[in-house]
Amino acid sequence: MMRLRLWRRDLVCQQAVELVSDYLEGTLSRSDRRRYEAHLAGCPHCTEYLAQMRKTIQLTGTLTPDDLTPQMQDDFIALYRQWRADSPTD
């Protein structure tokens, strides 16, 4: 019973926001994960915060590269051709 009480000790929001990344990375200990999820169940703000962190990661992951400028593309093609010309093997 004592152990049960210990790991059910409530998190506060300020602690919960520091656990978000480890939670999403799956690196929280089982007891911390339970405490975090128990906190979420009673806290709409931290639930929203978690959703926002997920969204942030998703948005960052969908950034597509700016295309190369024609000048840069030419530079890289020149770099490649120079290397081909210098390659002793072919």
Partner: protein, 199 residues
């Protein structure tokens, strides 16, 4: 040619396919430039580091055995070149434990939200032009402290695993996690500041 995995493009490149080279360059250029910029003093030097990295890739391509992923190999070359370019090489600074994910002033004395997260998910999904959001995010990423920017770029833009990021940047798993947590937390805050509405 714009599709295809890095491994397929690498095979084509080995066979002398110039378009495969350009496709690989195009695919990784942004992340490489962003990463290089976090080590050197200006964009011009960062661009040189990126070009130099591709020269290294071409020279080393026959020796690359695929034990690591192409991206890990590519970014390791980049980081090595950027570090030896060295103008802004600094000693490793310990990851301090002072930066909070959310400013302390937003919580009350008991640690509960006093000023809860403003809502923005619907706003950015429904009402914001995708290009505008992308520009906003790029700026926010560029504004991150160097080490956070390095980890966020590799993990969240390029999609490397945490192990790969540790290998590329030569940092410990725990440092990687802390830097990622702080970087992502700052980005979330930037979006909230830019687009949030009080709930």
């Amino acid at each position: 040619m714009d599709s295809g995995t890095d491994a397929q493009l690498l095979t084509a490149l080995r066979a002398g396919d110039e378009r495969a080279f350009v496709t690989l360059v195009r695919r990784h250029h942004d992340a490489m430039l962003r990463l290089a910029s976090s080590f050197v003093p200006n964009v011009a030097v960062a661009e040189e580091v990126v070009q130099d990295t591709w020269v290294g890739v071409l020279r080393g391509i026959d020796g690359f055995e695929g034990r690591s992923s192409f991206r890990t190999w590519l970014f390791r070359i980049l980081v090595n070149r950027a570090r030896t370019t060295g103008a802004r090489e600094r000693r490793t600074i310990a990851v301090g434990d002072t930066e909070a994910a959310v400013a302390a002033s937003r919580f009350d004395g008991g640690g509960s939200w006093a000023s809860p997260p403003e809502r923005w998910i619907e706003e950015v999904e429904d009402r914001l032009e995708a290009g505008k959001l992308a520009d906003f995010l790029r700026t926010a990423i560029d504004d991150l402290p160097d080490r956070q920017r390095q980890v966020v770029t590799l993990r969240d833009i390029e999609g490397l695993s945490s192990e790969e990021v540790c290998s590329v940047l030569e940092i410990s798993e725990s440092n990687q996690r802390v830097l990622l947590h702080r970087g992502r937390s700052r980005l979330r805050q930037a979006i909230e500041t830019g687009f949030g509405r009080p709930s």
